[in-house]
């Protein structure tokens, strides 16, 4: 069934008018046929999945055909803004969702800046894109009208030039009366590590969104016109003050994020000797990349729409530029150096010394920009052997212009460098490039080659899929720092922190800390107060960072909180548990959701919605072929121990890890294959596709360890049901094709005309082996 047929079925379940206060439309855009359609989601989507990430998953589940390749134009790319996006401080965010071309899992990436808020303010909650445009296209949205614009003049432009050209051609200013989601040359060339840019630095980074958008020949989505109706409804406005005060009153926000941004995290990981270095062969790196070394080049901070934090550190290395914002802000913050308090007093006193990247007094556009985040410092510092902050800044600015995900791109380069170090690849494969650790000139050049897919850049652009695309031999997989085919997002080596490790293994989009990071695992104040910690995570969690005990509670609670945060549009940094226990929580979100939508929500309900969102994501991953074996970690972390630092000798013990994972599955309500257990699966299926039939099996089958399975694609008779079973459980085909297994529907054996026997949603089907003998 093609996407247009699936869409027709879906649209029949949707509405022509809003179903609750403030609801925006879902805009379906057929790029191939240049048609649009506007509909509204049923109320039950809000009540069970909210909006943003959650509703995106609902849409994807109904529209995706799992057999198709991710870059097939019939696999949709979905933009979605959170329910509270643009209505609450720091709720600036939106997600893009699809099947990932980079990993083997869902594509789901989150970004802020101004685009998601403009989307909401122009009356849209979601935009569903499918079909390949005949020629490069710019989709222009403005207060409810849609226009397909020829994007030929913008083809080949990277991030900065693309925004400038749109501003010039449409006489507008980005972030004032225009917002733009766009791809760069890397997306056009379908580099799997490319993202979709939403500003000078903001990026929907993970999973290959740039390549996906490029496969549709969509260069950008422009929202034209300043946001209207800025005043929020009462009593929302008053409670926004409570939320805003909570955010800016939080220590880590006030003292670190507002002053220097996320690079403050480099020192704690360095001091702990948990900093992924040289593709995680080592775990400590030089203090030259501590955040205060960037002070001389930091002119100020920037931020997303309606955010009181402004955590985005800017950089300017050109002569005469302002500098010193946030200088010495981290000095004395002992919470920022848990394992060596003396480090809190260490300041490097670095002075400006940059004189152009070749030390020749020549400067260019890459000598200033926004960022870097801690992820970029880690991936383009220790991970590839770079130790100079000026080089990290410049690489950061190039990455932003090329629209490359710094996590996947940096990991892809680090992986190649280790393979080169080991002789698994040589200059024969690299086209003569010397992939020595820390070779700055090579790395800068390689980024541009990656965006163009030129020479060895074509291999880097294949990201974690380089082996299956024939670029590396099979043994290269032993050194790939990825889970579910997605490189690790965070530079943190998690052989010490076991909750962090569990989180990376079970995260639904692959190896990514933003789905469930248990940051507070090394927070001494929390570890010293067991009752407080137990209340935070709804269960007893060991105070020992390297213990496996109770870590499933922490990861489960974080997954719930963050999934809800993404679905209402809240920034992760300002959501309780990610950076602090005092930040806005589910109760705050429930209060504002109730005010905005007119639908009553309570905290417990939101917690369950968070679980629902991850549940439907696991059901999608199951359809993409992922099983419990894919909730794992890179081989290195099981087999190689740390060699330095306070936790030298630490690694992940496989038996302990599997036990922890099993406890996580039980707590979450998953079966032994990591999919929602039958009863929950049935509920989620009914809510999502409107159809659920439980089939009981004569014995546990591969993919169906509970001896039952839920069919949620609409079938009308037993013949179609049998096909659907094979579709759902291809690994159990041998058993399912067993002609001795008869069918009972709602307890009644089907004795004749089996194929045509009617099946309806809610039926219970049993496969019964015929008892032979005389």
């Amino acid at each position: 069934m093609g996407i247009r047929e699936k869409l027709a079925r879906l649209v029949a379940r949707m509405h022509d008018t809003p179903q609750y206060n403030s609801q925006g439309a879902v805009l379906f855009v057929d790029l191939e046929q240049r048609k649009t359609l506007k509909k509204y989601l049923p109320l039950e989507v809000l009540r069970n999945f909210l909006g943003g990430r959650g509703a995106n998953m609902w849409l994807l589940y109904n529209l995706v055909e799992e057999e198709r390749e991710a870059l097939d134009p019939e696999i949709p790319l979905i933009f979605g803004a959170g329910v509270l996006t643009s209505s609450m401080p720091s709720a600036t965010r939106g997600n893009i969702t699809s099947k990932s071309p980079d990993s083997y899992a869902i594509l789901d990436a989150n970004a802020g800046d101004y685009f998601p808020s403009f989307l909401r303010c122009h009356g849209y909650d979601h935009v569903v894109l499918y079909g390949r445009a005949a020629a490069w296209t710019l989709l222009k949205l403005s207060y409810g009208s849609e226009e397909f614009v020829d994007a030929a003049p913008y083809v080949g432009l990277n991030n900065l030039d693309m925004a400038a050209a749109i501003q010039r051609d449409f006489n507008c200013v980005e972030r004032e009366d225009m917002a733009l989601a766009r791809i760069t040359s890397a997306g056009e060339n379908q580099a799997l590590c490319s993202g979709i840019m939403g500003g000078i630095k903001a990026i929907w980074a993970r999973g290959g969104g740039g390549a996906k958008m490029g496969s549709l020949k969509l260069k950008g989505i422009m929202i034209h016109g300043a946001p209207k109706d800025l005043q929020p409804v009462q009593p929302m406005a008053k409670y926004n003050k409570v939320i805003g005060k909570k955010i800016i009153g939080t220590s880590v926000i006030k003292n670190a994020l507002k002053m220097v941004g996320t690079p403050f995290l480099y020192k704690p990981s360095r001091v702990l000797c948990a900093l992924g270095t040289k593709n995680n062969q080592q775990t400590s790196w030089k203090p030259t990349l501590d955040a205060d070394n960037f002070d001389p080049y930091r002119p100020g901070m920037d931020g997303c729409y309606l955010c009181p934090v402004h955590c985005r550190n800017q950089n300017d290395m050109t002569p005469g530029a302002a500098s010193g914002w946030g200088a010495a802000a981290l000095k004395g913050l002992t919470g920022n150096a848990s394992y060596d308090k003396a480090q809190a007093e260490v300041e490097h006193g670095k002075q400006r010394s940059y004189n152009g990247i070749h030390n020749d007094g020549k400067f260019d556009k890459y000598d200033k920009g926004d960022g870097p985040e801690y992820v970029t410092v880690g991936k383009f510092g220790p991970m590839i052997g770079i130790s100079e902050p000026e080089q990290v800044l410049r690489l950061n600015n190039i990455l932003n212009d090329l629209g490359l995900d710094s996590a996947s791109t940096g990991s892809s380069i680090a992986w190649a460098m280790e393979l080169y170090q080991r002789g698994i690849i040589t200059q024969k494969e690299t086209g003569g490039l010397d992939l020595t650790w820390g070779n700055y000139e090579l790395i800068e050049k390689l980024l541009f080659m990656t965006a163009k897919r030129e020479g060895f850049g074509d291999t880097i652009a294949d990201s974690a899929r380089a082996v299956e695309r024939g670029k590396y031999p099979q043994e290269a997989l032993d050194y790939r720092m990825a889970v579910k085919g997605l490189f690790q997002s965070d530079p943190h080596d998690s052989r010490i922190l076991k909750a962090f490790a569990l989180g990376l293994s079970v995260a639904t989009r692959g190896m990514d800390h933003l789905r469930n990071r248990v940051t507070l695992e090394i927070n001494a104040r929390i570890n010293d107060d067991p009752a407080f910690k137990t209340a935070l995570y709804n269960g007893t969690v060991s105070a020992q960072p390297n213990s496996y005990e109770g870590k499933e509670y922490a990861v489960r609670k974080c997954e719930n909180n963050y999934a809800v945060g993404d679905s209402v549009g809240m920034c992760r940094f300002n959501t309780k548990l990610f950076n602090s226990p005092t930040l806005p929580d589910l109760n705050d979100f429930a209060t504002q959701l109730t005010s905005l939508t007119g639908q009553a929500f309570v905290e417990e309900e939101l917690n369950e919605i968070g679980r629902n969102v991850t549940g439907i994501e696991r059901m999608l991953n199951f359809r993409f072929g992922l099983r419990a074996r894919d909730d794992t970690l890179p081989r290195r972390w099981f087999e190689e121990s740390l060699t330095e630092g306070p936790f030298a000798g630490e690694k992940i013990e496989r038996k302990e890890f599997e036990a922890m994972k099993t406890r996580f599955y039980a707590l979450t309500g998953l079966n032994a294959e990591g999919a929602p257990a039958t009863e929950w699966h049935e509920k989620l299926s009914r809510l999502t596709t409107g159809f659920a039939v439980r089939v009981d099996l004569p014995k546990p089958l591969p993919g169906a360890p509970e001896q039952s399975v839920v069919i949620d694609e609409t079938v009308s008779d037993v013949a179609a049901l049998r096909k659907a079973l094979l579709h759902k459980l291809p690994e159990a085909a041998a058993d399912l094709n067993d002609s001795t297994w008869n069918v009972a529907v709602n307890g009644s054996m089907v004795l004749a005309g089996e194929g045509a026997t009617r099946i309806s949603s809610g039926d219970r089907v049993t496969l019964v082996p015929i008892i032979a003998g005389g």
């Binding site: 004032e176 926004n240 003050k241 800016i248 100020g300 955010c307």
Partner: protein, 85 residues
């Protein structure tokens, strides 16, 4: 008219850096806008920057200082001349 900051202000300070006229200052509980210096960003931007960045939408028109766009433009020119002097 000039803009003012109402009681919803959380004193987060993001408006300080955004104001091109340096018309905003920190108050005891909330920030304040000097109406003599506020041009609603006329002369600088198409959109009032404090309105754009305020996370709680506390920057609103000041009913006690009503000015037309032409008056705001004239104020901008005066301030510019003063700065240059």
């Amino acid at each position: 008219m000039a803009l003012m900051i109402n009681e919803l202000c959380i004193a987060c300070d993001v408006c300080l850096a955004a104001c091109p006229n340096k018309a905003i200052s920190a108050g005891e509980d909330i920030f304040t806008i000097n109406p003599d210096l506020c041009t609603e960003c006329v002369g600088h931007h198409a959109v009032s920057q404090c309105v754009k960045v305020c996370p709680v939408r506390a920057c609103v028109p000041d009913p006690d200082h009503q000015e037309s766009k032409d008056e705001l433009q004239a104020k901008y020119e005066r301030l510019k001349a003063l700065k240059a002097a």
